[in-house]
Symmetry: C2
Subunit: 149 residues, 2 copies
DNA sequence: CTATATATGCGACACAGTCGCAACTGGATC
DNA sequence: GATCCAGTTGCGACTGTGTCGCATATATAG
C-alpha cells in the first residue's frame, strides 16, 4: 500500500475551515477502499452527516484538489464521464484500466519518476499534477480474447 | 511535426463505410491545426457538409476511437469537461497543459517509450491506449507567478 | 459571547454526450 | 446502371455530471 497523507490533519494545518460536512467528506475519502466518484462519495458521506448537499460535495472536491490533497482521475472513462478521486500518495503512480473486466491496477516505478524529472527539465515546465492512464486488457482478459476470436 | 496516418485511406482499408458525413468529419480532423473538441469539429465539418448532425459527430468519433485511428485527450479539463481529439501519431507523446495561459505543449522522449514497455511487461498488460497529461505552469507563467506573490 | 467572513442548502441551470426510431444511402451484386 | 438491404443518419427527447446565485447558517478569531 502506498503511503498516504492524513487529510484531516493536513486540512487543519492549512487553515481550512473544518465544517461538519467537510469532516464527513474528508473522512470518507480517507477511509475509502477504492476510487470514489462524486456520487459515491456523496452517498457514503451522508452516512456520517445525512444532510450534505450535492453542491457541497463538488465544492469540497474542488477545494481539496486546489490544495493538492487529492488527485482526480478519469480511469479511461470506463464508466461514463465521471471523475474519481484518491488521496495524494507520496509516490507518483499510474493507473491501468482493463476494458474487459473493469479492474483498475496501480503501478509505480522509478522510470516514471525519472520521466517526470526529464519532462520538467527539458520543457522548463513547473509540474503541479501528472496523470498517466492506460487502457487495454489485463492478463486474464487478453487470454480470453485470444480463445474466442 | 510528428508523422500522422492518413485517416481517409486507413478508413477505406479497414472497410469503414464512407458516407459524405464521415468524409467531412475525417477530413476536418486530419487537417485541423490544434486539438479539436466535438463542438468545434462539428462546426468545422459543417462547412463541408452543412447538414451533419451532432449525434453523427459523436458516433463518428466513437467509431474512429474504436479503430484506434484517433486519440482522446482531456487536456487536464482546462476548458470544462469536454474531450479533444487528435490523429494517432506514430510515436507516443504526452501533453503539457499550462494552467496560466492555457497553452498545450507536446513532448516525446525515449523514456516514455521505455516506460510503456516496462509497464506492459511487469503487469502482463496488453496496452491499447495510453494517456499522459501534465498540468502546471509553463516557463513564462511560472516566472510571472514568482514576480507577483 | 459576539462579530463576520466563509460555507452551506436549495433549486434552477448549463452542457456534453446518448438513445430509439423512422427515413435514407453506400456500395455489393446482378 | 438498377436493385437491394445492412448500416448510417437526422431528429428530438433524454441522462448524468457538474455549476451558480442567493438567502441562511456557522466556524473561528478576538
Amino acid at each position: 500500500m502506498l503511503k498516504r497523507h492524513d487529510l484531516l490533519i493536513e486540512a487543519a494545518e492549512r487553515g481550512i475551515r473544518l465544517t461538519v460536512q467537510r469532516r464527513a467528506l474528508i473522512e470518507t475519502i480517507q477511509e475509502a477502499k477504492g476510487h470514489l466518484d462524486a456520487e459515491s462519495l456523496w452517498k457514503l458521506a451522508r452516512k456520517r452527516d445525512p444532510n450534505i448537499d450535492r453542491a457541497t460535495v463538488y465544492r469540497t472536491i474542488e477545494l481539496l484538489k486546489r490544495h493538492g490533497m487529492i488527485d482526480e482521475l478519469d480511469l479511461m472513462h470506463l464508466n461514463g464521464e465521471k471523475h474519481y478521486y484518491e488521496v495524494k500518495t507520496q509516490k507518483d503512480h499510474l493507473h491501468l484500466a482493463c476494458f474487459g473486466c473493469g479492474k483498475i491496477e496501480e503501478f509505480a516505478t522509478p522510470t516514471f519518476e525519472r520521466l517526470k524529472r526529464e519532462i520538467a527539465k527539458k520543457n522548463e515546465f513547473s509540474i503541479q499534477v501528472m496523470r498517466l492512464e492506460i487502457g487495454g486488457l489485463c492478463r486474464r482478459c487478453a487470454a480470453q480474447e485470444e480463445a474466442l476470436p
